[in-house]
Symmetry: C2
Subunit: 368 residues, 2 copies
């Protein structure tokens, strides 16, 4: 077996999920994540943990949902108790066809999700971690050759997470102490308040309240946004391509928007509810292992030299007890490339210029 798969499993079990002897673990294996499953099983054996392996098959789910009348029982006991009694859930994503459920009726899907809400919440109450096993289906989605995609994905996953976590801690401390963030680049000059908000150091470990491997971003929940921002990283929004979206904020709300492609998709998001016109997240990508955009948000938003803003719901972890963040049914991340001529300031001090952080070689205090 490819040595990288073993290393991936080691990082997942040790760094990300912090599995210990006696832990009751659910391993969710997608149809084409078998090899990572084998490597994870070895790690769990070494730790003395107790795995139950669940099969996640898009084809089986499609088959089940398509023949069901849509009147689902609420949270069946056997499923609920499995997750309620689990300490950790490791999700090894990697199906054989990202469109495996393309023809399943949307209402049926939604009804099923609702009927499994308690199971879902029980899963979120564990030390869960989701990761991706780079396979051919995901390579195809990213528009890459298989080996090329493996190199891409493992560069993002097989990092020295401890030292990246230390670096990200600097950014967290700056954002925690700061009151106002300003981002300036081509067609962009936007400010937002982050006063009293708590930044999360998303270091791909449950110890950092971070549940994705790879990760590598620091994010907080901004408000009172003013100004204009250009999102020049292309993305797919509800199946439609969005390119060069531009948003203008006044008093924290979007008052104007445009896009070179996908403007209607953007409009739909903004019209969801009131909260969809306000920001729920400011995230700073810090994973330099990710070297290109693949239209997969799990990777794109973590990429070094990017900043993302999300319309909609904010995360509770960013908001102090007693306060409430932005509420919405949506959370849509939009990404801007800061590798070129750009600067991010916190309370007037430049923290990142042209992609370089202030603690990095090559950072310059002033423009020139």
């Amino acid at each position: 077996m490819d040595e990288r798969i073993h290393e991936h499993a080691r990082i997942l079990v040790e760094w990300s999920a912090r599995i210990e002897a006696g832990d009751d673990v659910v391993v969710q294996v997608d149809e084409d994540a078998h090899e990572l499953g084998v490597a994870v099983a070895a790690q769990l054996g070494e730790k003395g943990a107790n795995p139950v392996t669940v099969y996640r098959s898009g084809e089986m789910e499609r088959s089940y949902l398509s023949s069901h009348d849509g009147e689902f029982d609420q949270d069946p006991d056997h499923a609920l108790s499995l997750y309620e009694n689990a300490d950790s859930v490791l999700s090894l994503r990697g199906g054989r066809n990202t469109s495996a459920m393309a023809d399943v009726d949307g209402d049926i899907r939604q009804a099923y999700s609702k009927a499994r809400m308690g199971v879902h919440e029980a899963r979120l109450d564990t030390d869960w971690v989701a990761t991706v096993h780079p396979n051919r289906s995901l390579a195809q989605q990213a528009g890459m050759a298989f080996e090329e995609y493996q190199e891409f994905a493992y560069a993002a996953i097989l990092r020295d997470w401890e030292s990246l976590a230390e670096e990200m801690q600097r950014m967290k401390e700056i954002l925690d102490a700061g009151s106002e963030v300003r981002l300036v680049k081509e067609s962009t000059d936007i400010t937002m308040s982050i006063e009293d908000r708590i930044a999360v150091n998303s270091a791909a470990s449950v110890a950092y309240d971070s549940h994705n491997l790879p990760s590598g971003e620091v994010f907080t929940a901004p408000y009172d946004t003013e100004g204009t921002v250009l999102f020049d990283v292309p993305m797919t929004l509800n199946g439609r391509h969005v390119r060069n979206a531009r948003l203008t904020f006044e008093d924290g709300e979007v008052v104007d928007y445009a896009a070179e492609a996908g403007e209607a998709a953007l409009a739909e998001v903004l019209d969801t509810d009131e909260g969809a016109r306000r920001l729920g997240e400011l995230g700073v990508g810090m994973n330099r292992g990710i070297d290109r955009f693949t239209d997969n948000i799990l990777f794109d938003e973590k990429m070094g030299d990017t900043v993302h803003l999300a319309l909609g719901r904010s995360y509770d972890s960013n908001v102090p007890e007693g306060e409430t963040g932005n509420d919405s049914a949506v959370h849509v991340d939009l990404i801007t490339d800061v590798s070129g001529d750009s600067r991010m300031e916190v309370d007037g001090e430049v923290v990142q210029r042209n992609g370089r952080f202030r603690w990095e070689v090559g950072f310059s205090e002033s423009e020139s």
Copy 2:
């Protein structure tokens, strides 16, 4: 998808497991039983049952066990509660390599089995059914081409179970009413008592206390065996080929044995414990969909025109309340071919001669 797979799934869910709306079902899918899993999921959706899908991978299990120190936790809560809360368990057997766990230490395997005894028992307390998805690995084990094996397996599985169950009921009634069974053929003249014992009509359905698909045998628990029997169907016993085993019984116990091949393997079984020298089962194969021996006990012992006797443990279902059957750590089925010159008598009346049952065309009361 092959229409036979859908039909297999329908028989499994409707006839065998009797799944109803609201049933909480665990579906155990082996590595290479995916297609049957998809067809079963459709049946479960149609019924309105609630599946949780567990992945059974020999490679993952090998990997886990091989890296474990062997000090397993006893029956972890998440696994136990999953099966305790399940109404039914459907096991879809079909790995990719029947030797996937060949190099796992026997002591580790045993320790793991012991540590999961409660989980195992919780599974047996459900309406469980085990079946086989005919795949290439199983074809190879049977020494057949893949399509040939599919035809073989589906001929055994896709039967009119209702009418076979009715036919088998006749045999059950004869055995229930009978006191003594005598089997006579080449090198064989053996009698055993079945007085007060209860025959099971193993009709591949939980409604008949039968948990394998295919099935198709009627079995009971004999005792006080006398005489000699030749087992001329070849089999593999603990990895060793056994051919033409011959056992002689006195007062219910084996007093002499021989085999043309595998005599040592036979001796090991007989030496396990006291109960291993006595019979635990007499079974009459009645599934005429099975037309050849494949060295897979699930099929071989159900084949029409065969009778099998098992050394060792008897099943509780054959023994009336208050009585105890034969106790042993082993249960080893040995098969004799009754298609040729042979007869089985119950209380002196011929029930099967040269493979024909007394209610079948071609049966003759006397030799002639």
